[in-house]
């Protein structure tokens, strides 16, 4: 079985090809079957391949399938090969399994939309690209998946292509992430320059064991790779595309936020951790970006009116936690939070999608309200997901994953008070906006009538994800509470472990964290009520936060407008025009000169005489 891991990305790819080439001839039912079965088979394969590998959890073998030599130029070659090890297995599991649930959900959610086959074709390609990204053995193949993911997000965000706003959002996502990709590509070029290979294991070995790269070089490479990571993972300064990416259908958002795309940056940094660890400065930058982003996005989430935008900002903020964890060297905590976040964020987006679909595509929370009685399944699963997001103590998975990050932000050798404080404030903000979202959406007066009850295809994935969002946390418990470390001992097959400093008492900080977040919930409970909903008005300050701190306007002025201006200013191709003008001058000159050829012998004779005199005097001059 282990020589067939390449089948995992192949099935979604086949699904894409079948749907893209023949989609219009199939019935909706067949489309739904092909679309979800392709991902389902991959999920099944992941279990079949992955479970035996889990038998020896602390010494897991990695598997590599080399398909053929992709690029072979002189001494530089890149194989087209896939690899599964501890790190990629976690990602493959989340991508295929959560991806499969999202596909099941979509069969019902998209049933009334046109372009059913097109939708599933793109979704399958999305999953396939993401699988290639995490299973790639070399950075170049990873880059293929990386760009493929970008393409699919472009196609899916702009899925309802008639609305120019959606197309704008799609373009924005593609181009903003491509800015990061260009940086990443330069990073790849530097690695080729230094190591003459793009094989990730080789690079890690060489970087670890040799002195062939200087710390400055490592820093630059790490920062360039980080450029790619912040693009895809929507971190500062390239976070602007994600809130607009809401333009796509809700399952797309679930896929982008939970299983694919935005986690790519986390994966890249975790995968290339050797390079990052060579540069303390780059690690500091990663942690700082994470800390700042989680705060900025958290504050923005507090002032949204669109349900999906709350979730979008919460994703940016939660990925910020992962970056913070990566930056302080809490590698396994970052990956753990990725997995848990994958479960509860998929759940929240799918739940939000169900609400939105039931309310005639109403996305404004302030026009919802009172839904907890009307849609009990949706409400309870959404509540469980929210509890995980807000890291509700003990009963939510999010508590264990986020608690670990907050703890390591302080106690890790690279951590510190500032990071802990940022993470803590972020946690409080998370509680606030989560409760606000729950209250405004599900409680208070009913403002829009429910006209659709989601069927089993939509509710079943929600229930499964709700169970995972609760139970998955128990596979990794803190030292002082049960001390279960299945997850971290599993991923430390690839990732380095962490040694915490002895200065701090874990209990004290856990209790502080719990008290603060419960306190935040209490405040939220008091503050967000029907009065708040009715009196909610936009002030300039709120608008500033709602618009994501106006980064859009800033970039528009700094980059977009100058680019468009420059391009349009030279629409006529000034170089070419000036050469044409030069040519016209030459032809005018020739017209003038042709006056000389006027047929009068006298003129010619005079011309000859002057010429002879000139030549003779020139010769005399040279002789002298």
């Amino acid at each position: 079985m282990l020589q067939f891991i390449w089948l995992i990305p192949l099935f979604p790819l086949l699904g894409f090809l079948l749907l893209a080439l023949g989609g219009k001839y199939y019935s909706k039912k067949l489309v739904a079957i092909i679309g979800s079965a392709s991902v389902g088979i991959s999920a099944l394969l992941t279990f079949v391949i992955g479970l035996p590998m889990l038998q020896n959890i602390e010494n897991m073998p990695s598997v590599t399938n080399v398909l053929y030599t992709w690029i072979d130029v002189g001494s530089f070659s890149v194989p087209f090969s896939f690899k599964i090890d501890a790190l990629s297995l976690v990602f493959v599991f989340v991508i295929t399994f959560v991806g499969f649930l999202i596909h099941i959900y979509s069969t019902e959610y998209m049933a009334q939309e046109e372009g059913y086959a097109r939708f599933f074709a793109y979704m399958n390609l999305f999953v396939a690209s993401m699988l290639i990204l995490v299973m790639a053995d070399s950075l170049l193949l990873m880059y293929l998946g990386w760009e493929g993911v970008g393409l699919c997000s472009y196609l899916l965000i702009g899925f309802f292509y008639r609305d120019p706003a959606n197309n704008y959002a799609a373009r924005k996502a593609f181009i903003v992430t491509r800015v990061g990709d260009a940086a990443m590509l330069i990073g790849l070029l530097m690695l080729v320059f230094a190591f003459n290979t793009l094989d990730m294991a080789q690079i890690s070995d060489l970087a670890k064991n040799s002195v062939s790269i200087s710390p400055a070089f490592a820093t630059i490479v790490a920062l360039l790779l980080l450029g790619g990571a912040v693009g895809k993972s929507a971190q500062l300064p390239l976070q602007v595309w994600l809130p607009d990416a809401m333009a796509g259908p809700s399952p797309v958002s679930a896929l982008i936020h939970a299983a694919t795309m935005v986690t790519a940056g986390v994966y890249l940094i975790a995968r290339m951790h050797v390079i990052f660890m060579l540069s303390p400065f780059a690690m500091l930058v990663v942690a700082s970006i994470g800390a700042i982003t989680l705060l900025i996005a958290g504050v923005s989430a507090l002032y949204q009116t669109d349900l999906k935008r709350v979730l979008a900002y919460s994703t940016i903020s939660q990925i910020g936690y992962m970056f913070l964890a990566l930056g302080v060297g809490a590698w396994s905590a970052a990956v753990f939070h990725f997995m848990i976040h994958g479960f509860f964020k998929a759940l929240l987006f799918l739940g939000a999608g169900a609400v939105i679909l039931s309310l005639h595509h109403q996305q404004d929370m302030f026009k919802m309200g009172g839904l907890y009685k009307k849609m009990p399944v949706i409400f309870w699963t959404f509540l469980i997901g929210s509890a995980s997001l807000a890291a509700f103590p003990f009963i939510s998975a999010g508590f264990f994953s986020k608690d670990a990050i907050i703890w390591y932000a302080l106690s890790s050798p690279q951590g510190g008070w500032v990071f802990w404080l940022a993470a803590m404030i972020g946690a409080i903000i998370t509680c606030l906006y989560t409760f606000r979202m729950i209250y405004v959406t599900f409680f208070g007066k009913e403002k829009t009538h429910v006209h659709y009850t989601p069927g089993i295809a939509m509710t079943l994935p929600l229930i499964v994800l709700a169970i995972l969002s609760t139970l998955a946390g128990y596979i990794e418990l803190p030292h002082n509470m049960g001390h279960i470390q299945w997850f971290s001992s599993f991923v430390t097959n690839y990732l380095p472990g962490i040694t915490v400093s002895e200065h701090f008492n874990e209990w004290v900080f856990q209790i502080i964290a719990m008290v603060l977040s419960l306190g935040a919930l209490a405040i939220a409970f008091k503050y967000y009520n029907e009065k708040y909903v009715e009196s909610f008005t936009m002030t300039p300050v709120k608008l500033f936060f709602q618009n994501g701190w106006n980064f859009d306007k800033l970039y528009d002025t700094l980059f977009v407008k100058p680019f468009v201006w420059l391009a349009n200013a030279n629409k006529e191709d000034a170089t070419d025009k000036s050469i044409d003008k030069g040519a016209i001058q030459v032809s005018k000159l020739s017209n003038r000169l042709s006056v000389l050829q006027n047929g009068r012998v006298g003129w010619y004779l005079a011309g000859m005489a002057i010429g002879i005199i000139l030549v003779v005097s020139l010769m005399l001059f040279i002789k002298m």
Partner: protein, 507 residues
């Protein structure tokens, strides 16, 4: 002999296509297709026959103009082989795709003659013969542009003629200078490339002679600021645009095959200048591509910006970048041609090339929209397609020489995304502006599009097909060292030193 055969088939086809028109109006088209197909099969068999270890796959020499020491000598190696196949396949697509009314016998005649000229360029190892083919391909294209009978085609033809003939003339002067310098030195007056390699020149002379060659090649390439002829030629007719897209590869070929080996020291000296020109070309052209509304013009500027990558790649002098250049020649030819096909497919249905007047085609014709999205993705260098491999290899090679130009060139990648997405945005999505008549893609169009897609993906996933062919040529050229010749006092730069510096650059 097979080499002459390929040329003969094309020229014979051209000659036959004239009279057969009287028998049936469509017959010239079939003659053209058969001729090109035969030529493809012949050249394909050449590549398979060779073991790949010898320098040349095939050679042919016959006395031509003994009085001046010029022979009719042809030979192909990996580079020529790839370029000839590319030329013929694209020629097949261009002729196959052309509309019935365009299929006059003169169109076929000129096309086949032009293809013969281009193929000849890739075969010639005698510089006078090279020049002969160089001129031979220009005139048919001039006539094609003139007879396209579109608005502005006479101006485009004139511009094309002035740019290419003017620079060709300067190349001739350089060629003769090289010929006489070599003749004076060795008393052997010969145009054979391998003889001329031994010419000893002072660095000043060599630079002067080289600039004549370079000018012709750079105009053909074209690089900024000599690119003005290309967009106007692209606007005349799809077949002409595809041919022009091929023609510009002869510029790159000329630099790699002749300019660099003949003037190694000069090439090293101007390498920084060429890098700058390359970067300027990439950025300048991709910025303009973003502002244009005519799909054909966008395709032209996109092609020009690819040529910037080629220039950077060549003057980085290392095997990664040269392989990249080889792949880029194919990727760019196919890429620009596919955008041209797209423009033409749309024009046949909507009656316009202007993307400002189009929109929402996805609703009425998802097939065309799908094709268009695919081609736009190829143009922006999506991995898995030919362009990506080319750009990656070029940049990876160039990075080892000049970090700054590589970084600046990478901006071109973002700009390419901007102009490619703009095509999708304006033409395929958004509100439906023009309801494109329901006629789906015709069989001929489908065939042409399929060839393009297969080529783009094939090279994107299996570039070794190209790179393995190019490897011997590249190793030979970059490790080039002219044979020892007496009387080296004239050479100011030690040849060994030049060889050494090539290798230093490689490291």
């Amino acid at each position: 002999m097979a080499l002459v055969g390929i040329l003969a088939v094309l020229i014979l086809g051209a000659l036959i296509s004239l009279p057969v028109r009287r028998i049936h109006k469509q017959l010239p088209w079939y003659v053209g297709i058969v001729a090109v197909l035969t030529a493809i099969i012949m050249s394909f068999s050449l590549g398979n026959a060779s073991s790949g270890t010898e320098k040349w796959f095939a050679r042919f020499t016959s006395s031509w103009i003994p009085a001046i020491g010029s022979n009719f000598s042809l030979a192909i190696d990996g580079l020529s082989y790839i370029m000839i196949l590319l030329t013929l396949v694209m020629g097949l697509v261009a002729i196959g795709f052309s509309e019935r009314r365009e299929n006059s016998s003169s169109f076929i005649f000129n096309s086949l003659f032009m293809l013969a000229g281009v193929v000849g360029i890739f075969m010639a190892t005698d510089l006078f013969l090279f020049f002969f083919f160089w001129e031979m391909m220009l005139l048919p294209l001039y006539f094609l542009i003139i007879s396209a009978n579109k608005e502005g085609s006479d101006k485009a033809a004139f511009k094309f003629l002035i740019y290419t003939q003017g620079s060709g003339l300067i190349m001739l002067i350089s060629l003769l200078a090289l010929y006489f310098i070599h003749g004076n030195q060795t008393a052997i007056y010969s145009f054979a490339f391998e003889d001329l390699l031994n010419t000893q020149m002072s660095i000043t002379t060599s630079m002067l002679v080289m600039s004549g060659f370079l000018l012709a090649f750079l105009v053909k390439l074209p690089v900024w600021p000599l690119h003005g002829w290309l967009p106007s030629a692209f606007k005349t007719a799809p077949a002409i645009a595809i041919f022009s897209g091929l023609l510009i590869k002869t510029g790159a070929y000329g630099i790699m095959r002749f300019a660099v080996p003949l003037f190694p020291e000069g090439s090293l000296i101007i390498s920084p200048l060429m890098m700058i020109l390359g970067v300027v070309t990439i950025l300048y052209a991709s910025f303009i591509a973003f502002s244009q509304n005519d799909i054909r013009v966008i395709s032209a500027y996109s092609g020009i910006s690819h040529m910037g990558f080629i220039l950077i790649g060549i003057y980085a002098f290392n095997d990664l970048s040269w392989q990249g250049v080889g792949v880029q020649m194919i990727a760019s030819s196919v890429g620009t041609a596919s955008l041209i096909l797209l423009g033409e497919i749309i024009h046949r249905r909507a009656g316009t090339y202007d993307i400002a007047h189009l929109g929402g085609i996805w609703t009425s014709n998802p097939n065309i929209a799908g094709i268009g999205t695919f081609f736009a993705m190829a143009a922006l260098g999506l991995p898995g397609m030919a362009n990506f491999i080319a750009e990656f290899l070029i940049l990876a090679g160039a990075f080892q020489i000049s970090v700054l130009s590589t970084v600046l060139a990478s901006i071109g990648i973002v700009a390419a995304a901007a102009y490619s997405l703009r095509i999708i945005q304006k033409v395929f999505i958004g509100e439906e502006k023009i309801c494109i008549s329901i006629i789906d893609v015709t069989l001929r169009e489908k065939a042409a599009v399929a060839v393009m897609m297969v080529l783009l993906l094939w090279i994107g996933f299996y570039p070794s097909m190209v790179t393995s062919r190019l490897e011997p040529f590249i190793t030979r050229t970059l490790n080039f060292s002219p044979p020892e010749t007496p009387g080296t006092e004239q050479g100011n730069v030690d040849e060994a030193q030049v060889k050494y510096s090539f290798q230093v650059i490689k490291k």
